[in-house]
């Protein structure tokens, strides 16, 4: 501790603090423009200069470190004169018109001018060429006339989100912020995350969608959780009346620390779409008509009663929603188990991360991400396999890029040269579906070269001998033959992993969506255990979940095998506990059907009714033609949704639901963080919260459920009934997210699972696993492998993003990505329409010739219905979880003559 005198006030300080920090801590205001707390400073604006007694010049408070006995004055005449001159110079350059400026009221330059009593600049700098406005970008307006060259946007773009689009160009008073090589933003490689806008202290960068919507003092900020991917970014909704006018990331909040992606920042307006469902609909003679809640709910209840009475509870099934709040999923599984007595409840984790839950429970004892996203930024090694993070989990990818720039080795393993590979130290272009062989190859090197963590394996793992025996069958040569990665690279990656610890493994659906998905997951777990990379900070197995609340939907028991909090349905004690708590008898004690089984049973008429909550299965399930056939075969289909979708067309009753921002509740992100979701407006028409709908149906089954809000559901049922959530009360969640397990009121939550190698089920289980090829491999008729995934600007089947201004413009149609080699061989031009066909279907789609695609691969997404990849995909699923093999099926492509 040292003592500094600032403006005659004695201040205690740490030796490495800056003058600015000490002043701020002591309530002494020093204005800043370019300073970004905690991030790289450019020290360029010089507005924060202060007088340090004895110094030759004024000292910028943001850069100057305090020293014992230092005497600082922050408002002497020389300081104020320098500040006044700087503000005058900034104001006299360009055009600063507060009257119409979006930033007015929260503009740093405006505040400083006010503080210094500057009404207008005393002169105009005529000698500088007037800067221009760049309006070319879909989401962002760059008004260079207002730019003060503080460089915060450049820092945001390069050092925070690492998108590397913005930079400084030219020199001296010609200096400007440039996009790429000085092209307009709309043509540049900008991915429109808007981080630059958030960083801009003045009105030089604004969100186009927000222009003219509200003055800064008219809005209130509501903190909530993003409705898109599983990262669970914390948002501030800027709300005027009941309208969200702008979204910003919550600085200092986990997991995103203020960062957002294009969807999170600009994908909020779907809730205002005129296409929203406003009233219950009942299908009559093939057409929907509006109905009252009572009529619709009675119909649903009666129909279910009827079928259950006739064919038993097994004849009904439910698919919950991984996009809606935890409270909704909890309520739906309760409806199925407690009211219908049916075990058949599942949700879309089935088609994405079910192998994660199954595999990690088997290896570690808990089916969640072991560590946290923030740890990506300061680990020593990042092993990313089967993850297109920059598009599917953009904000998580920023922390990976930060980590790499902070010195971690980044290893990217993927069949495509995904964008993240550009940042990688090693990029292994693996063949589709060869993961186990590749991973066994790495482990072979670790074991044969004695590079693995023997202490960790001995003390914390079992079954090592079996694993060893198995991986010895995969020397680099064989692993190389199967995976297409060279022997040298396998060996060098193994060394990189062993030499750079701690290290984190990160994967996404490239690992899980295979017939060997669970094995893939366990293989990644094997690797990390072998390296001793589990149960410590900056280590672990870190699956990135697909949907915003897919972790939560699993946690809430919307699975055929567990109640919420992973309490097994086959455990009699659990059954007894829930029977008592729910005041019912005869809860089903057997495993329910998984989604693929439900569809099969619909087709065979063994299942009669299906209740689909918020899922557009006609689009997201593999082999769409088959899905349609199954739904057509169903006797009764009910959908809860916020829009008509391809799926609701097959419903008999459609119930209009409250959307994100229309209800209070919680989401759980992929790092097990439970965060609050808040309400800013009422649902349209007579649409109702989903939990209310389920409760009303239960009422018609004679059950009275007390809970009447998200909070009551959480505090009275969800938390008390599951030990892992017991300590996470709604009040606590209101102050910021909590990572489960959180078992007591004092428990702050768990950032890292299996700490010190103490696995949930004792010892970590090493698994001896063999590589198996995909179910459908290319042949003469279908010579290409089709792999599928997600693109940046859309989310799933576009029910939300397709109704957000701008996002359709950014990605207006579907493409099939093919390699340059194949394109040249087949004479296919970039942008040309082609036919892609599989044994299950045919689509016409535009070819996108990309150097990022290897020969023999076709890559498509599922955002647009007509040319959705799922017309082509196979239903073959993971042997354990039945998760479909979206990542591999055989297709043919043809040029349209």
């Amino acid at each position: 501790m040292i003592t500094v005198t600032i403006n005659n006030k004695l201040c205690q300080a740490e030796a490495d603090q800056t003058i600015l920090q000490v002043a701020t801590d002591n309530g002494i205001h020093i204005p800043t423009l370019c300073h970004m707390d905690g991030i790289h400073d450019s020290f360029s604006c010089r507005i924060c200069v202060v007088e340090v007694v004895g110094a030759r010049t004024l000292i910028p408070a943001c850069a100057g470190k305090v020293a014992d006995g230092m005497v600082v004055n922050t408002a002497t005449e020389s300081v104020l004169s320098a500040r006044r001159n700087i503000v005058n110079l900034l104001l006299s350059n360009g055009e600063h018109n507060c009257l119409s400026c979006e930033k007015s009221g929260e503009c740093s330059l405006q505040s400083i001018a006010y503080e210094l009593g500057i009404e207008a600049p005393p002169f105009i700098m005529e000698s500088i060429e007037k800067p221009t406005v760049d309006d070319s970008s879909v989401m962002i307006v760059r008004d260079n006339r207002k730019c003060i060259l503080c460089r915060r946007c450049v820092t945001a773009c390069n050092d925070i989100v690492c998108n590397d689009v913005l930079s400084l160009g030219f020199r001296g008073s010609d200096t400007t912020v440039i996009c790429d090589n000085n092209i307009d933003m709309g043509s540049s490689s900008c991915v429109q995350c808007g981080q630059c806008v958030q960083a801009c202290p003045v009105g030089a960068l604004t969100d186009k969608k927000s222009i003219g919507k509200a003055r800064s003092w008219e809005v209130k900020k509501v903190r909530t959780t993003c409705p898109y991917c599983g990262v669970g970014c914390q948002l501030n909704l800027h709300v005027k009346g009941d309208k969200i006018v702008k979204v910003t990331g919550v600085e200092d909040a986990y997991p995103n620390k203020g960062r957002l992606c294009v969807k999170g920042r600009y994908g909020y307006d779907f809730i205002y779409s005129p296409e929203r469902l406003t009233t219950p609909l009942i299908k009559e003679n093939g057409k929907f008509r509006e109905a009252s809640w009572d009529e619709a709910l009675d119909l649903v209840a009666n129909k279910f009663k009827e079928i259950i009475a006739a064919d038993g509870p097994d004849a009904v099934g439910g698919i919950s929603c991984a996009r809606s709040i935890n409270e909704d999923s909890y309520q739906m599984q309760k409806l199925f188990r407690a009211a219908f007595k049916s075990p058949n409840i599942d949700h879309c984790a089935r088609v994405c991360h079910a192998p994660t839950v199954a595999g990690l429970i088997k290896s570690f004892g808990t089916g969640g991400m072991t560590n946290s996203i923030e740890e990506f930024a300061d680990t020593n090694c990042l092993f990313v396999i089967g993850s297109n993070m920059t598009e599917a989990h953009p904000v998580a990818s920023t922390f990976v890029k930060n980590g790499q720039r902070n010195g971690a080795k980044l290893i990217v393993v993927d069949p495509r040269k995904a964008k993240l590979a550009d940042y990688a130290d090693e990029f292994a272009q693996i063949k589709v579906g060869s993961d186990v062989a590749f991973l066994n190859g790495l482990m072979n090197v670790l074991i044969t070269e004695d590079l693995y963590d023997k202490d960790f394996v001995r003390d914390h793992c079992d079954n090592f001998d079996a694993l060893k025996e198995k991986v010895l069958e995969y020397p680099p040569k064989r692993a190389s033959e199967i995976s297409g990665v060279s022997e040298e690279q396998i060996i060098s990656i193994a060394h990189m992993l062993a030499d750079n610890k701690p290290g984190m493994a990160i994967y996404t659906l490239g690992i899980t969506e295979h017939t060997c998905g669970t094995n893939n997951v366990m293989s990644v777990a094997n690797l990390q255990m072998l390296l001793g990379n589990v149960g410590k900070p900056n280590t672990g197995v870190n699956p990135l979940r697909g949907q915003n609340n897919v972790q939560g939907a699993c946690d809430m028991g919307a699975l055929p095998n567990t109640y919420h909090g992973y309490q097994s349905v086959t455990d009699p004690a659990a059954k007894a506990k829930f029977e008592q708590a729910w005041n019912v008898e005869g809860l089903p004690d057997k495993l329910g059907l998984m989604i693929p089984d439900m569809f099969e049973k619909l087709e065979t008429k063994e299942m009669k009714a299906i209740y689909i909550f918020g899922e557009n299965v006609v689009g997201t399930e593999p082999d769409i033609s088959h899905v349609i056939k199954c739904l057509e075969a169903a006797e009764f289909v009910v959908c809860n949704d916020i829009f008509q979708t391809e799926t609701t067309q097959y419903a008999d009753v459609v119930l209009p639901a409250a959307a994100w921002s229309e209800d209070e509740g919680t989401f759980t992100n992929c790092e097990r963080r439970i965060s609050r979701v808040r309400k800013v407006k009422e649902a349209p028409g007579i649409a109702k919260p989903n939990w209310w709908i389920f409760r009303e149906i239960a009422k018609r089954f004679g059950q009275t459920w007390e809970a009447d809000s998200g909070q009551e559901l959480w505090d009275n049922e969800i938390a008390p009934l599951a030990p892992v959530f017991a300590g996470a009360t709604f009040d606590k969640l209101d102050q910021g997210g909590i990572q489960w397990p959180c078992k007591t009121p004092e428990d702050p939550g768990t950032q890292i699972l299996h700490l010190d190698g103490n696995f949930t089920h004792g010892k970590g289980h090493l698994m001896a696993l063999d590589w198996t090829p995909p179910a459908e491999v290319p042949d003469a008729d279908y010579p290409f492998t089709l792999s599928t995934g997600r693109r940046l600007y859309h989310y799933h089947t576009r029910t939300q993003t397709g109704r957000c201004e701008g996002l359709n413009e950014l990605l207006p149609e579907e493409y099939a990505d093919i390699s340059e080699v194949d394109a040249a061989r087949l004479g296919i031009e970039h942008g040309e329409m082609i036919v892609v066909k599989s044994r299950r279907g045919t689509v016409k789609v535009k070819a996108q010739v990309s150097e990022r695609i290897p020969e023999g691969l076709v890559w498509m997404a599922m955002h647009y219905f007509e040319n959705n990849a799922n017309w082509l995909t196979t239903r073959s699923g993971d042997t354990i979880t039945k998760t479909p093999e979206y990542k591999a099926c055989a297709v043919a492509i043809e040029k349209i003559q």
Partner: protein, 169 residues
Amino acid sequence: MNANARGCMEKDERTHLVTDIVAKHKNSKGALIPILHEVQELYGYLPVEAQETIAKEMNVPISEVFGVISFYSFFSLNPKGKHKISICMGTACYVKGSGPILDKLKETLAIGVGETTEDGEFTLEDCRCLGACGLAPVLTINGKVFGRLTKDDIPEIIEGCKTEGGSVL
């Protein structure tokens, strides 16, 4: 259009040379500026396609490449004229009258500093001290020094470039 996409473009012969230059320097620290020097030698300036190749081969953002190029006055984003006239604006030359000579050059060539005549014959630049202060004021045309100038020498010098087709310079 997706940024990943790109057609199969015809690769200019020089692109390969740029790739070679990058390969040669790639592993040394701080290689960007030496690479830019060599590439500029190759083209006479730094065209967009060369910037793109450098960015791609070095795996650095193109914004950084452009940022560096545009920072340094030695690097040029535009092709230069056949005769590159650099007038020394060092203090010694200035005191001895390089200002009026520059004015005369602008007038004679009808271009400003940093510009190239429409016929691509002349580029006019001012430069920092050439170190030929003994000959002040001086200018160079494609490296050849003309010293102890007066503004009346300018038309003759320009005319000389035109008639000799630059071959002597």
